[in-house]
């Protein structure tokens, strides 16, 4: 580290502040970072403040800060969307889906990247095709009819299986990360007498942590925000509904207009669990704290 820092101070500082490592560069860097952060944050701030407004003020628009702070929006959203119960259902649905997806996708990605077997190209092609042949909600009907045959249509298990089956995206992400992991390591392990499965568990999975972390995060958020399938599968078992389904109850109330203020309050509440999941997943990117590039 020290060896790196010295040449910069010697060479660049005196000449031009905007050369790399100079204070000018650092200022520009921070301007860029903060400007981006502001642009990203602004709509979220509008959401947060909006969730404290009355529906009239919010829908009329024009203001950022509420004129009167309606804290009761959150209480109302909490009750109307049945938060405490539905959050648990959502956690369970998203958690199991995430674990399942990561296991299924990482096993497939491992053999596709490291092994040779007939039909590999076909398998990859099938996975890719599930990603771009998407006609959205239409497939729910056959999926639902299948789950009726399996007697899984009144629980979240049907939803979980369907969500895990949509693992192509994570499969490709993990595949890309596997390509970046040197094969020398598995060769060495193999010479030491490690089996294929052993290599997968002991070598590959630990090195795949960043990819698994990102994959987990995406899967979890995806499952958390899944709306139509949980809705359909809990048609007759309302006690199993997920938070996203519950949030949709906030849309309409006593009259024809949408209760936008409750929707925003509900959205703010439902972000919290996801932020916690993000914090946990973020640890997997933290493993190399010694920065690769210094600023």
């Amino acid at each position: 580290m020290k060896t790196e820092a010295i040449p910069y101070t010697n060479k660049n500082m005196r000449r031009n502040p905007f050369r790399e490592g100079g204070w000018g560069g650092r200022v520009l860097l921070w301007i860029f970072l903060l400007a981006t952060a502001l642009l990203i944050l602004f709509p979220i701030v509008v959401t947060l403040f909006g969730s404290f407004m009355s529906n009239a003020e919010l829908t009329t628009g024009g203001a950022i800060l509420p004129s009167v702070w309606h804290f009761e929006n959150f209480a109302e959203a909490w009750v109307q969307a049945n938060f405490s119960r539905f959050t648990w259902n959502s956690l369970m649905l998203s958690g199991v889906t995430t674990i399942g997806t990561l296991i299924v996708a990482s096993m497939a990605a491992y053999v596709v990247d490291r092994m040779n077997f007939p039909g590999k190209a076909l398998f990859v092609a099938i996975q890719a095709s599930t990603m771009f042949i998407s006609i959205g909600a239409v497939v729910i009907r056959p999926q639902y009819e299948l789950m009726i045959k399996l007697h899984l249509h009144t629980s979240l298990w049907g939803v979980i299986l369907i969500l895990i089956s949509g693992h192509a995206y994570i499969f490709f992400i993990l595949l890309s990360f596997l390509k970046g992991i040197s094969r020398e390591l598995d060769e060495a392990a193999r010479i030491d007498g490690c089996s294929n499965a052993g290599i997968f568990w002991k070598i590959i999975l630990p090195l795949l942590r960043p990819g698994l972390g990102v994959g987990a995060l995406f899967t979890f958020c995806g499952a958390w925000n899944e709306y139509l399938r949980p809705l359909v599968f809990t048609m007759n078992t309302p006690e199993l509904q997920t938070l996203t389904v519950g949030l949709s109850y906030l849309r309409y109330g006593a009259s024809a207009a949408v209760q936008t203020h409750y929707m925003l309050a509900g959205a703010c509440l439902s972000i919290l669990p996801l932020l916690i999941v993000y914090m946990i997943a973020n640890k997997s990117f933290m493993q190399m704290t010694a920065g690769s590039l210094k600023g």
């Binding site: 296991i103 909600a137 979240l156 499965a197 139509l228 007759n236 109850y249 109330g253 006593a254």
Partner: protein
Amino acid sequence: MYKKIGTVVLSVFLAVALAACGNSSNNAGNEATNKPAESDAATAPASNEKKTKIVYWTGDRHDMDYIKEVIQSFNDTNDSNIEVEMVVKTDDYNQAIDLAFASGQAPDLLRVKENTIQAYVTKGYLAPIDDLMTEKMKQEFPLIQDFNQIGGKVYSLPNYGSTLRLVYNKELFAKAGIASPPKSLAEMVDAAKKITEVGKADGAYGFALNFKSPDSAFGRSARVIAEVSGIGGFGYDFKTARFDFTGFKDIIQAYKQMYDDGSTLPGMEALDIDPLRAQFAEGKIGMYISFSSEPGVYKNQFPAKIEWAAAPVPSIDGTIKGVSSFVGGQWLAINSSSKNQEAAWKFMEYMYADEILKTYHEKGFGISMVPSISAVASKPDINGIEGFLPTENDGTWPLNPTVTVEGIKSNDAFFKYMLGEGNLDEIIKDLNTRYNAALDKAIASGEVKAEPKPDFDPMKLGAK
């Protein structure tokens, strides 16, 4: 060996999954006694084995609290040991219904609407109720062709309906020196211009509609202007049994005139109905045309800061040649495959009792479509509803045939013209050609029957 480890991995996964599964089902079991507010209407002790449980699905949320009360009292008082559970669905109600019927999960009773009942009958979802209705019911409830009576059989009965009116800001009208709401298109264009002249400095404009969805905007405005001018609101001429959009020419041109004059709210192209209402409540919009759900919105959600009222919509030239749409005619219907049809009918009969429908109207959940109710019920307790109450010029137009048109829809084409693309005569000619081609095709395949009714009189429609 390797396979074995593979299966070990799988079984570990399954074990995790099963553990979670057990967890969840326990949880469901524990919490089933404590059902969410949305789903249950009754927590009456279910000790009696003979209790018949029936399920009712609705997409209505505006009347939820009242209907819950009604169901609770039904559950407490009915002597047939019937327990009704109400499930309130949201946006995807129609989709859920289709899936539920496809899979044998459908409720015993369901809410049907003016644009779903026909398809549900065709799909075989609904049971006819002709034989169940009492004499009194037959006299009391109007039967409306295509909206509750389909193919000669009755499937539902009316409760409430929606009328369409011009909603206007009295203060802006006074400020602009306009004495009364417009009766013709020319007056409407003129009023919009005058209001904008006096209001623009404060950000107020003469006219607005929710053109984010042209279907929704024209479907609540141009449609009813055409109707009171004696023209089918969706371009279908019931006299000749052909599509003919020629009658829309003046209406669309008037809209374009207002848009070109700058008399419409800026950004109307992307406006949804709620932001429109919110601006109206703030006094920024002179007038718009909408359904009778508006007074409820200004009472509950967007408290109006201005004096406003509702008036009959203008006609093309100021003379009334047809009735203004009174949309509705159906409410509950029974699932044809339900095992508890008898119990379902008992509940349905209860729901259609005079007292319940009367209260429904008086509480302002919807304007009653049942003459014997509206005759005795007092005015709903909502400011602004007076202007929406049905008059002798409100009636229900027959259903226009559903056809699958190739190419751009009429409303999208009209909106394009409003924003300055194309020639209106050519657009109308093209629409007529394509809509009639689609109609011919639907007739040929037997999906649609379209017979000319030379004596069709748009002034004498609906059941009164």
